[in-house]
Symmetry: C2
Subunit: 216 residues, 2 copies
């Protein structure tokens, strides 16, 4: 069973940084990109609800529109690949039903065996805790996928840059997301760092471990 | 540079599942756990603000209290390791100042060179977009760390289970988080699956790729 060693994992995660300048000539090979798409699909989510969509934008004209909707950040154009992370908005009990349908299909189990599970989901989605906003909760799930994707990139030796600095309403319009019930939240660009990206050699800034990790 | 192959990555992520039954006799070796803690510390966050703390709970009596505050989910007691993911609440401009201090310290750069960066952060934290709730945004960042941690576990061959089904206010009280300005959001348990965890052999339920990934 191929795994990374603990030392290799830390080496990979230390190598990772938010790439500011990609080499536009270097493209992610198809087999590598296919695995990164799988990392998105296989990402965990609460209840397994997968309240998301991922839009991979290769079309140059669309990239240019998104560039303008992203404060002209150069990664949008220069990166080999760009993926928009979107939530499925206004998740509701019907989404729980849909997941139950899929479980029955994939696992070939009787629907009745999933009644308790369905009840937990519909109870949560139909009557969330006070102050809870479902779209915010879906966005949290989306960020699990973002973490999964960025870590997967690092494990494969692919550079990436997560980007929140986008204008979501413009993204929704440009990509036709609103009419699908989707809402763009953030972006990840991926590819290979330019040789002269000065950010690559900067020391990683983290607070001391003793300020972040507590032991009980 | 040690990396996973694309095939190995997909194999690792397919092997991963939300472990329901851990083998309580199997403990994560110290060097492996140290790497997983590093994955938390090295996790990306917006602006690099690291609006979080991670509480590793080994103490048995505390675990029993958390068990009661987690709907008696057995992973809380049976897993080798338990880490509570908490946000730093009410992030504000002072947190941007603190990060600037740390950048100056780690990179030995003049403070003046970071004025623009500081302005972006203080502008965002002091005057967030309409409808934005800072604690929700911090929780999103925390879920990047959750995704990083779960993917790192998979890469190392460690089983894990992310858990949102906790009573955060009880967690805050039991762990003394509120007085530190922290708030528990979710938990990850980690260890090794029990030989008889039936969930391990169930087919992974995902929607078809064409329903989740769009191409433009």
């Amino acid at each position: 069973m191929p795994t990374l060693s603990p030392r290799d994992l830390v080496e990979r995660l230390s190598w990772r940084y938010a790439t500011k300048k990609f080499d536009p000539a270097k493209k992610i090979p198809p087999d590598v990109w296919a695995a990164l798409e799988q990392s998105l699909l296989l990402s965990p989510s609460s209840f397994g609800l997968q309240p998301w969509a991922f839009i991979v934008v290769n079309d140059r004209a669309t990239r240019e529109k998104l560039f303008a909707a992203s404060w002209n950040q150069p990664q949008i154009l220069a990166a080999s690949h760009l993926v928009v992370f979107a939530i499925r908005k206004n998740l509701k009990a019907a989404d729980a039903e849909k997941l139950i349908d899929r479980i029955v299909e994939v696992r070939n189990v009787p629907r009745e065996s999933l009644e308790g599970y369905k009840g937990m989901m519909t109870g949560f989605l139909g009557n969330p805790p006070a102050g809870f906003r479902i779209d915010d909760w879906s966005a949290r799930q989306l960020y699990i996928a973002l973490g999964t994707f960025l870590t997967s990139c690092a494990a494969l030796g692919v550079d990436a840059c997560p980007m929140e600095g986008i204008q979501p309403a413009d993204y929704d319009r440009i990509l036709g997301l609103a009419k699908q019930g989707l809402g763009a939240v953030c972006v990840a660009t991926a590819g290979y760092r330019a040789a002269d990206d000065g950010y690559a050699s900067l020391a990683k800034v983290r607070y001391p471990a003793e300020q972040i990790v507590q032991r009980v």
